[in-house]
Amino acid sequence: MKKPRPRSSAPKTGLPKCPTGIQGLDEITSGGLPRGRPTLVCGGAGCGKTLLAAEFLVRGAVEFGEPGVLMAFEETEAELKANVASLGFDLDGLVRRKKIVVDYVHIERSEVQESGAYDLEGLFVRLGHAIDSVGAKRVVLDTLEVLFSSLPNEAVLRAELQRLFRWLKDKGVTAVITAERGRESLTRHGLEEYVSDCVIVLDHRVNDQIATRHLRVVKYRGTLHGTNEFPFLIGEDGISVLPITSLSLNHTVSSERIATGIPRLDAMLGGRGFFRGSSILLTGTPGTGKTIISANFAQAAARRGERVLFFSFEESPAQIIRNMHSIGLRLEPHVKRGLLRFHSARPSLYGLEMHLATMFKEIAAFQPHVVIIDPITSLMGSGTDSEGKGMVTRLIDYLKAGQVTSLFTSLTQGGHALQQSEAAMSSLMDSWILLQDFEGNGERNRVLYVLKARGMAHSNQIREFLISDRGVDVVDAYIGASGVLTGSARAAQNALEKAAVLASQQEAARLKREVERKRAAIDRQISGLRSDYESESAELRRIAEQVGTSTLMLTSERAASGILRQADAKVGASAPGRPKHGRKL
């Protein structure tokens, strides 16, 4: 997600540019400072002029292979080295490797007396010698205006300074000249009259007790430049300016889904959780479990082996870890494995922009897959609404560009304006989960529902959200004729239902037994009847046999008597069939 530093100097048609290497500044100036020309950097005390100039030199020497000369009028070489070392710049090493020359110009006003006409040839010689000794391409004159207070005769000085800037241009070095901000003019001694190619104003303002540094390119001849005031940050690795220019909507999107760590919540989100790289808003009144859901999400991601960056603006990391223990969530193994990183800061520590800058830096350094901001509302409280929204927009854009899934929690106050108050932010979010309290029966229960989830089928139901020492769970709330029941009311309703089921089960069992009994009775009857039938049929057989034998006897007797009587053959031929038939019976 690291922004590629523009290394080439300028488009071919435009002014040749000298990249500063300062994060963001090259984007604002579309390539850097005007090459071979002096640039004026002015601002009040403590707004970072010297650091900006020093970073310009150091980055030039380290990243762009352009040696530099730092002519310091205010700080000694040792002081400068110590000061920039705090930003991670090894000025001492660069001086030893002959990449940078630091020349401290000191004039003790009390020792100097003017005696006739003079010029500043001494300064020119020193500068020229320094430039030649390392083949410098960049020159910084740190607060040249000190000369005005240490040397008499302003008219001479002005003439000489004009000559100096011309001389610098002739030398072809890219120069940065710092100057104190004046009351009515840009600089106290009107240096802007001489340096007219590029003027950058730095500013350090306090708004609502929160100080923010700003940078503005007032003038840049012959090139397009951002004219806004851009907040900037002096961090551990130098200055970073935050251009607000990258507000294009052309992120690549992923259709990969990632689990939330709460299976039932995944089920509510089309069964598979959130989209990777989407922005998720989690709103809720105090104590509804926003942080808990966030922590679950973080844990789930860490278990997948992804890096999670957790920005906490209300609790310290140790406190979050301890609190999550109470619901059986162990976060510290993930912290130890380096997959989970916390960044805690009070919202009032510095301004919105500074927070944003810090977050950008953290994100760029850690390269997380998931970013959690808990809660975004307290952060937005330190600026106006529009500032806040702008900030969130930039943050989301930044994260989306890097396919980072972001989860923002948002605290809403009690009452029914839940959705209204978040309207500004919610339109930026892809998914929105609402946590709410339900009060009734002398208790408060948490419910959860998915208000929106772009691009996925999601549950329209309100679910009860349970937090126990074994973790969190989402259960179906009872939704019936009497409305949504949660907590003990839901339990009571469940018990009632169970009782009803039990009663009907018992009834069914009783009925079954009755039927069994009846069937047994029927069986008994059937077997009685069958035995009756069998005895009767046996009787019948016996009778039939008797009848058969008597008939046979009768027939044979008749046949015998027929033979005896010489009856016709026809009767005798059919006669043997009948006794057969009779026997069969």
Partner: protein
């Protein structure tokens, strides 16, 4: 006395220990090339040495074009610059030294009567 124009030597440390016991004034003049202003400064200084310091002075003229590293070592910004190394405290005079004698009197470096004559 004719001040010698030393250009090649490295006069940063050498003159002081040698000069201190016997001479009262140690002066070093830094000029940038042979401009009119430089020549004026040298001239004015020679006059001062000859008229007021009466040989009790060591004068060294350094051209920073020839020895630019000396400009840095001696914190030279303006030219010409006269550095009065001795007597202490160290003083610097910048300019063509047109009124250097007057300034020396003002600073009580040389007695005032010389001027009134």
């Amino acid at each position: 006395m004719k001040p010698e124009k030393s250009r090649r030597s490295a006069p940063t440390v050498k003159p002081r220990p040698a000069a201190r016991p016997r001479s009262k004034f140690v002066l070093r003049l830094f000029v940038a090339g042979a401009t009119a202003r430089s020549r004026q400064a040298v001239l004015h200084l020679q006059q001062l040495c000859a008229a007021d310091l009466k040989g009790g002075c060591t004068l060294e003229v350094i051209d920073i074009y020839q020895q630019p590293e000396l400009a840095r070592a001696n914190q030279i910004v303006a030219t010409p610059t006269l550095v009065v190394e001795f007597p202490r405290p160290m003083r610097r005079f910048i300019g063509n030294l047109a009124n250097i004698t007057g300034l020396f009197v003002e600073l009580d470096l040389i007695p005032a009567r010389k001027l009134t004559v």
